[in-house]
């Protein structure tokens, strides 16, 4: 789906160049279609980003593919210096961020990527929740004049997103007065499960998909504090620099006091395993999240979590 969408956009727009540092999982079928506009630089994340800057100087819109950990960290200074400083429209498609690296181990865990990328002036940061969300967001992201980091989650889910996407706007899935769950990316799946359990326990629950992390929907978040008793930030990211930090920065700036419960990784990498087991071990299943919020155990049943599609 991602591949098909990118292919169609690239066929229509000669400016698009698809690049990869030999991570072809999402774009395996594009080389014959795009010809010279498909560039594989080999395992050279730094060179790929620098070369993307050169291509962008010539008017191209490079869309770069690599694992999130390597794109955000190995190539960090190139992203900051060659995409950020000149504000070039280089788009970083970062695979298997957060828990999606499941069994790879800490080398592959991008759990600080939001923190790093949002710290770069001019950089926009997006986190689609699944394949459909990504498809809704991608055309806008590619059309933006700024560099962008896309925390790719392309899992297939049955959830139906609102079709409208605007950079800087949250997707408000539900509003509730007792608790509002704020999340992005892969964790939306578990957040939806948590919300069901909380509702079954009689809570009025809001759910917000913060698919645009930078710019973020500041006005909505501020407004939310008047409408709900507790905010919970749910993210497969270190607590430092991610959504919890973003919310804290906004509330501090606006001098708002509001209870916020962070569900995130605290000063440690996660246990590498099959995705289902990672979530259970780390306490990030929907059921575990709901029970942390409630403060007691429930009889609810945690649905099975579909395994990841590929490993690199």
């Amino acid at each position: 789906m991602y591949e098909e969408l990118l292919k169609n956009i690239a066929i229509d727009d000669e400016r698009i160049v698809v690049m990869t540092a030999e991570n072809r999982a999402l774009i395996r079928n594009l080389p014959p279609v795009l010809g010279k506009r498909f560039i594989d630089t080999g395992i050279t994340e730094q060179c790929m980003v620098g070369a993307a800057a050169g291509l962008a100087l010539r008017g191209r819109i490079p869309v770069l593919h690599a694992l999130a950990s390597f794109l955000s960290m190995r190539a960090f200074e190139f992203v900051r210096t060659d995409a950020g400083i000149p504000n070039l429209p280089i788009k970083l498609s970062a695979f298997i961020p957060g828990f999606l690296s499941d069994g790879n181990g800490p080398t592959h865990q991008a759990v600080e990527d939001v923190s790093l990328m949002r710290g770069i002036p001019n950089m926009q940061v997006f986190a689609p929740a699944n394949e459909q969300d990504l498809a809704i967001m991608l055309p806008e992201i590619l059309a933006s004049k700024h560099p962008a980091y896309i925390r790719i989650c392309h899992r297939t889910t049955s959830f139906q997103h609102q079709k409208h996407f605007e950079i800087g706007k949250a997707e408000v899935i539900a509003e509730g007065t007792d608790v509002t769950l704020l999340t992005y990316g892969f964790m939306l799946e578990q957040t939806l499960i948590a919300a069901e359990i909380l509702r079954a326990e009689g809570k009025s629950v809001g759910i917000v998909n913060l698919r645009s992390l930078k710019p973020i929907d500041e006005a909505y978040l501020v407004d939310l504090t008047q409408k709900t008793d507790l905010l919970v930030t749910i993210e497969d990211h270190f607590v430092t620099g991610g959504l919890y930090s973003i919310v804290a920065e906004i509330f501090l700036k606006k001098q708002i006091q509001s209870p916020v419960l962070p569900i995130a990784l605290f000063e440690k990498w996660f246990k590498p395993a099959r995705l289902q087991e990672v979530l259970e071990y780390e306490g990030f299943t929907g059921k575990q999240i709901a029970e942390r919020i409630l403060g007691y155990h429930t009889e609810s049943i945690q649905p099975h979590i579909v395994a990841s599609e590929f490993a690199e």
Partner: protein, 285 residues
Amino acid sequence: MNEVKLKKLEQTALRVREHIIKLSTDGGCFVGASLSATDLIVYLYTEFLNLNSSNLDDPDRDYLFLSKGHDVPALYGTLVEMGVLEAERLQNHLSTNDHIYWHPNTQIPGIEFHSGSLGHLPAVSVGVAMDLKISGSQNRVVCILGDGELNEGSVWEAVMVAHAHKLDNLIFVVDRNNFQANMATEDLIPLEPLVDKFEAFGWEVCRIDGHNFLDLEEAFADLPYKKHKPSVVIADTVRGKGLPSIEARADRWFCNFSTVEIEQLLQELHGEHTTTLVSETLVVR
């Protein structure tokens, strides 16, 4: 090369060196690295590149990238001599009123991309060369690197990628002045045999005296050296070239001279006498 042209190049290079010396006070600049690259930069702009004051934004132009960045005073001086940059702007060196500082930036007309962090522009120039190929352009990309810069792993990523992608429109020029920041390259991270290194990576190599315009003319006469292969010119140069009192010295990289010393150095440049530098303002970074 005829006598007239040679004389003209030498005169231009001399004036560029004067600009560099004048920038090396009141805050200073990387004077040693700038003087070693001066003849290269002057030659490339005035003789080789399809670049002049009227085509700087034309997509159909050649590209020059200054990767080591410390040598930007030589580029400022050259751009002044080309009529691209107003000479008065050099008075604004290190002032917040302008954008003239220790590393290149795109606020200066003629500068294609900022640098300062080593090992970036080889990759950026690879990207431009790739697009020239995709677009079917015959233009060329030159990237000037420092020899110390070759320590950076990202340089060799770009070297391998350029070879893999057969970028014969790409030319690296290594300013081989034998020094990196604090010491001789061969005393820290030895680079020799440098020709063999590039050849082993699939590049075509030419090694020349980077202060000899006849050598430069020959090196840039017939590029690429081989079809489908990127080319590298290793230009043997002298750090601080033109000023015997600072030439080939490890401690004359970044210099902040007194105004009196500047006057003496300008006289030294014109061969009058060697300056005795006693300045307490000498800074090594």
